[in-house]
C-alpha cells in the first residue's frame, strides 16, 4: 500500500465532529457496542448471541450495556439516553444511574483471571468480593504475581495484544473459527479495571497518546513486528502489500491457509 498519508505534522483533537451527519447514529452504535462488548462477556458471548438472537438484537443489547456502563463511569444523568429504554418500551427507564449502571460497571470489571485456561472462568457478575471489587478502589489482587497496578487498574505484565511476539501461532489453531478464534490471540492479557477511578485519573486526555487499531505510538517504527501479533494487520507484508482477503480468518470465504 502506497503512502496514503503524505506528511502530517499537526495532531488534531475533537474531530469526532467530522463524522458526517448520516454516519453519526452508526458511529454511536459502534462505540456503544464496543464499550458494551466487555460488559456482556466479550466477543465470544457477542457472537453466540448473534447466532441465537440475530445481529441487531445483539448489537442493541451490547449498546444498552455500553451506554449504561459509560453513563455509570462518567456519572452522566438519565436524560441523555433515556430514550433508548423508553423507545424500546423497557420498564424502568432510569438506566443511566443507580444499580443498573453499577451492575454493568461491575460486570465490566469482572474479567476472569487468566489462569483458567483449562476451563471456564467463573468470575461472573458479582462473584468477586475481594479488595479489587470496589468501583473506586485501587488494585485488588486478582492477578497475584505478575500484575502491576496502574491508577487503580490491574495490568498483567504479559505482552499486550499488539506487543511483540503476541501469540501469532494461535492463528493456525483458529482456522475456520473466524473472529472467535482470534480472541485466543487477541485477549491474552485479560486486563481488568478496578474501577471508575482509573478513568477519572486519566481524565486529562489532551496530552495522552493512545494506541489505536493496534499501532503503538510509543514505537511506531516497529509496526511490522507488531503486526505479527495482529491477525489482521498481519495480512500486509513489510512492503505494505496486501496478502488478500481470502487469507483472512474473519472473512466469509476464508479457506484456511496463511502461515
Amino acid at each position: 500500500m502506497s503512502k496514503v498519508v503524505r506528511g502530517v505534522k499537526k495532531g488534531v483533537k475533537k474531530v469526532g465532529k467530522a463524522v458526517k451527519k448520516n454516519w453519526k447514529p452508526i458511529v454511536g452504535v459502534g462505540l456503544a457496542a464496543f464499550t458494551g462488548g466487555l460488559a456482556i462477556g466479550g466477543l465470544g458471548a457477542f457472537q453466540s448471541a448473534v447466532a441465537t438472537n440475530g445481529l441487531w438484537s445483539t448489537v442493541g443489547s451490547t449498546m444498552w450495556a455500553g451506554v449504561t456502563g459509560t453513563a455509570g463511569t462518567f456519572g452522566l444523568g438519565s436524560g441523555a439516553s433515556g430514550t433508548f429504554a423508553a423507545g424500546a418500551g423497557m420498564q424502568g427507564a432510569t438506566l443511566m444511574t443507580g444499580a443498573g449502571a453499577q451492575a454493568i460497571g461491575l460486570a465490566t470489571q469482572a474479567v476472569g483471571p487468566p489462569t483458567s485456561a483449562a476451563g471456564l472462568s467463573s468470575a461472573g457478575v458479582g462473584t468477586y468480593t475481594g479488595p479489587g471489587s470496589s468501583f473506586m478502589g485501587g488494585g485488588g489482587s486478582l492477578f497475584g504475581g505478575g500484575a502491576t497496578t496502574r491508577g487503580g487498574q490491574m495490568v498483567p505484565n504479559a505482552v499486550g495484544p499488539s506487543g511483540p511476539g503476541g501469540s501469532a501461532p494461535a492463528r493456525g489453531g483458529a482456522g475456520g473459527m473466524g473472529l472467535l478464534g482470534n480472541m485466543a490471540t487477541a485477549a491474552l492479557p485479560a486486563l481488568i479495571t478496578a474501577g471508575g477511578a482509573y478513568y477519572m485519573a486519566k481524565g486529562e486526555e489532551e496530552d495522552q497518546k493512545q494506541d489505536v487499531w493496534g499501532v503503538s505510538h510509543k514505537n511506531p517504527q516497529n509496526v511490522y513486528s507488531q503486526n505479527f501479533a495482529n491477525p489482521y494487520a498481519g495480512y500486509f507484508d513489510p512492503d505494505g502489500n496486501s496478502m488478500g482477503l481470502m487469507d483472512m480468518p474473519g472473512h466469509a470465504r476464508y479457506t484456511g491457509g496463511w502461515t
Binding site: V8, K10, N22, G41, A65, L120, A233, G250
Partner: protein, 224 residues
C-alpha cells in the same frame, strides 16, 4: 534649522510589523516532508490518500472482492476497510504519533466504507439499502477490532469518552432509534434488549484463552 540635518528630521513612521503568512513549505524531519495542516485539511488529505489508494493501486483487487462477495458484502467491506485503517494508522503513527486516536480514525473509517460502497455499487454488487450496508459494515468492523484488541482498557477508555461526548450532545438518541429500527426489521423485539443484555451478563464469563483452547480441542476431535 537645517532641514537637511539628519538629526532634525522627524523619525520616519515605522510601519507596523506585519507577520508574514506562514508558508506551507515542507519541513524536512527525519527524511520526510512534513506539512503543517489544519484539522479539516488534514482529514481531507488522508481521506484523499485513501481514496487514491482504493481507486488506484488497489482498484483491481478491491473491485474483484466486492463483485464476488454476494451476500457477504458487508463482511467484505468491513474486512477491506479494517485493513486500510490498520495500514493508515501505522502510517499516521509514523508521521505523528499524537494523531493515532479514535477521534481521527473513526471519521476516516466512515469515509473509507463510503468509498467502498461506491465502488461496490459501480461493480454491480447488490445493495438493497445503502444505510443498512453502512451500519452492517461498521458494526462488523468494530467486531473485528474487538477481536483484535480484546480487553484493552485504553481502547475502552477512548471509546467511552467519545460515547460520553455523543451522549451529552444528544447524538446517541439517533443511534438508539437506528438500532431499534434495525431490530424490528430483523424481526426482533427492541423491548427485549435489556433482558437479553442482562442474560448475557449473567452468564459465566469465559476466558478468551480458554475459549481458544476449547475450540482447538473441538477442532481436533472433529478432525480425528
Amino acid at each position: 534649522m537645517n532641514p537637511m540635518d539628519p538629526m532634525m528630521q522627524e523619525p520616519a513612521m515605522q510601519e507596523p510589523m506585519m507577520e508574514e503568512p506562514m508558508m506551507e513549505e515542507p519541513m524536512m524531519e527525519g527524511g520526510r516532508d512534513l506539512i503543517d495542516y489544519g484539522d479539516d485539511e488534514l482529514l481531507a488529505e488522508i481521506s484523499d490518500g485513501i481514496s487514491d489508494y482504493i481507486h488506484g493501486e488497489a482498484r483491481d483487487h478491491v473491485s474483484t472482492e466486492l463483485a464476488q462477495s454476494g451476500e457477504d458484502l458487508a463482511d467484505t467491506i468491513a474486512a477491506i476497510a479494517y485493513q486500510i485503517m490498520t495500514q493508515t494508522s501505522e502510517q499516521v503513527a509514523e508521521m505523528s504519533p499524537d494523531m493515532v486516536t479514535f477521534d481521527v480514525l473513526i471519521p476516516l473509517a466512515t469515509e473509507t466504507i463510503d468509498y467502498l460502497i461506491e465502488m461496490a455499487d459501480a461493480v454491480g454488487a447488490p445493495i438493497p439499502n445503502e444505510d443498512d450496508l453502512r451500519g452492517d459494515a461498521f458494526v462488523k468492523m468494530i467486531e473485528i477490532h474487538m477481536a483484535k484488541v480484546g480487553d484493552d482498557p485504553e481502547q475502552l477508555q477512548i471509546a467511552q469518552e467519545m460515547l460520553a461526548e455523543m451522549m451529552e450532545s444528544g447524538d446517541i438518541e439517533a443511534a438508539e432509534q437506528y438500532v431499534n429500527d434495525r431490530i424490528k426489521r430483523e424481526g426482533g423485539d427492541p423491548a427485549k434488549t435489556q433482558m437479553l443484555a442482562e442474560q448475557m451478563m449473567a452468564q459465566p464469563r469465559q476466558d478468551p484463552l480458554a475459549q481458544g483452547v476449547q475450540q482447538g480441542l473441538m477442532d481436533q476431535e472433529m478432525m480425528a
